[in-house]
């Protein structure tokens, strides 16, 4: 399955805290376009709204304002329309403890109603590719953290999804395992042609995976949009430093500012159509003035 375009248009997400009714802005204003088949890393400090974006992209949360489009549909509104198209790898493996590795990997295929034989054949194939051929019948508690995350990766890829989303999926593993899994993940995503978004708070991780790195402010807006290939290997140190400073100061460092993608406000408004035009044009003006 080839990838789909992901587009955030003036995306905003707020939560009302149940305890005191205070309104929290998790996503201030997001505008970005991720092209089909692109592999993009999103980096931002803890609590900047990365997981909130993740939830909106999966369709578990509705945006407060603006839109998030996958292809030309919204994952929240058209929830069931995305069956079989989106797969996720979460921070924790989130395997079902009562299912063996094989049965865990079969889950997404069961949900789309594939024949059991075919489910097993595909799931076995992916477990083998991830080096778990000897562990198909093992229960999650019999596997190490790294192996469990491999099962979770197999469970995502078995769908050959158009969209692959990973939220801090490797952060809790030791460095060697994390690097290995990250590499596998990116290689497989490229092979599948899926559009992949990897969310992380670790700069090193972000720089090592993506075609692009989106740097988020807190609350989330795109501070910088960096095409890694634009930076020759000898200037990577400088790039790292610039992103680091950007993350720390919550303001885009000058060295990367000129690369940040500026979307013309008119184009955005056109895309959004007449709905909420008034409010959105206000926001677009604000965004442009930034």
């Amino acid at each position: 399955m080839s990838g789909l375009r992901i587009q955030a248009q003036h995306l905003r997400k707020q939560f009302r805290q149940s305890a005191n009714g205070v309104l929290i802005t998790a996503i201030e204003q997001l505008d970005f376009v991720i092209e089909p088949g692109e592999i993009v890393a999103v980096v931002g400090s803890t609590g900047c709204g990365k997981s909130s974006l993740f939830d909106v992209m999966i369709g578990l949360q509705a945006p407060t304002a603006g839109r998030l489009l996958i292809g030309d549909r919204e994952p929240y509104r058209d929830f069931n329309g995305f069956r079989g198209l989106i797969a996720t790898v979460f921070q924790q493996d989130r395997l079902m403890p009562w299912r063996s590795s094989l049965d865990n990997v079969c889950l997404p295929l069961e949900l789309i109603g594939l024949a059991p034989d075919e489910q097993h054949r595909r799931a076995r194939g992916w477990l083998e590719r991830l080096g778990l051929a000897a562990f198909t019948d093992a229960y999650p508690h019999e596997l190490s953290g790294g192996m469990r995350q491999r099962v979770a990766i197999a469970r995502a890829f078995v769908l050959q999804p158009a969209i692959l989303l990973a939220d801090e999926s490797f952060g809790h593993l030791d460095e060697v395992t994390a690097a290995e899994l990250r590499e596998t993940f990116v290689a497989l995503a490229r092979e599948c042609g899926s559009t992949a978004v990897l969310i992380t708070h670790q700069l090193e991780e972000a720089m090592s995976v993506g075609d692009r790195v989106l740097v988020f402010a807190k609350p989330a807006t795109v501070l910088a949009d960096i095409r890694v290939a634009d930076w020759p290997a000898e200037r990577r140190g400088e790039l790292r430093e610039a992103i680091q400073l950007t993350l720390q100061s919550n303001r885009c460092d000058e060295r990367i500012a000129r690369l940040a993608v500026q979307q013309p406000a008119d184009a955005v408004i056109e895309q959004l159509g007449a709905r909420d035009k008034h409010e959105q044009s206000d926001q677009a003006i604000k965004a442009n003035g930034r």
């Binding site: 939830d55 999966i58 369709g59 578990l60 929830f79 069931n80 995305f82 069956r83 079989g84 989106i86 797969a87 996720t88 979460f90 924790q92 989130r94 079902m96 403890p97 009562w98 299912r99 889950l107 997404p108 069961e110 949900l111 229960y139 508690h141 769908l159």
Partner: protein, 260 residues
């Protein structure tokens, strides 16, 4: 309301093998019993009140198994009905929060009603004996099942729920693939507790108009002043409970073998 202490004893006594300590304790009890029986006069108790082991054994031989079967059938039938009913309502309450807000206080109310009141209501409202017994058991066990099921469904981790939702399951898939297996351990515990509760409640319910069942035989024995028979039937009741517990433990060991 929940007989937790009793349930613990039963659960630990439910395995196939008895630890040595349990056997010794039982033997000591038997010896003490026999001693008490032989020295009833010294203790100031009439001799028939503490029948000898031999006398109880004789009564045990005359136990009518059809009564045992009838009572067990009543218990299992009522538990299955309670379980099915509770499952339907619990799923409804889980899916529609408004239903839960209205229904939950009523369920708590039902749980606070004493067993003896249910028995009196059953006598007042229903003629048919089987229906009376079934009503009492369902009224006592149903709400317990319901509350256990609802709270365990709510306890299913948000992590797993989000995970499966990201794959877009249908409602029936959600319950079959996630909810049911996730709450299975809690369901089995709930079954054990309700089983021991139902066995004890059914005997009281059978006192009202029933002409079969262990509760009825107990009341007959009492009317005839046959203390040995009372003891024999009590022993059978306890044994039946332990046997059913053991079956549940076997099922548990099989379906929960994935647990560490």
């Amino acid at each position: 309301m929940r007989p937790s202490a009793a349930a613990e004893v039963v659960i630990s006594g439910g395995g196939w093998r008895l630890p040595r300590e349990a056997i010794i304790a039982l033997l000591v009890l038997l010896v003490l019993w026999e001693l008490a029986s032989r020295n009833a006069a010294v203790l100031g108790v009439p001799a028939f009140a503490i029948p000898s082991l031999e006398r109880i054994a004789k009564s045990l031989i005359t136990v009518t198994w059809v009564d045992v079967v009838v009572t067990v059938a009543r218990v299992l039938g009522a538990l299955l009905c309670s379980f099915a009913l509770a499952a339907l309502i619990a799923i409804w309450m889980y899916c529609v929060p408004r239903v839960e807000r209205y229904a939950y206080p009523l369920v708590r109310l039902l749980m606070a009603v004493p067993v003896i009141s249910w028995i009196l209501f059953a006598v007042l409202w229903f003629k048919h004996v089987e229906f009376r017994i079934g009503f009492v058991l369902v009224a006592v066990c149903g709400p317990l099942f319901l509350v256990d099921m609802l709270s365990s469904m709510k306890g299913v981790s948000k992590e797993l729920r989000d995970m499966i939702h990201s794959f877009r399951p249908s409602t029936s898939q959600l319950f079959r693939k996630l909810m049911l297996p996730a709450i299975l351990p809690a369901l089995l515990t709930s079954w054990k507790i309700n089983l021991s509760l139902a066995i004890r409640v059914v005997t009281i319910a059978e006192l009202v108009g029933a002409v079969t069942g262990m509760g009825h035989q107990l009341s007959v024995a009492q009317e005839l002043f046959s203390v040995a028979d009372v003891f024999a039937w009590t022993l059978v009741l306890v044994a039946v409970l332990f046997a059913l517990e053991a079956v549940l433990n076997q099922i548990e060991a099989r379906v929960l073998r994935w647990r560490v």
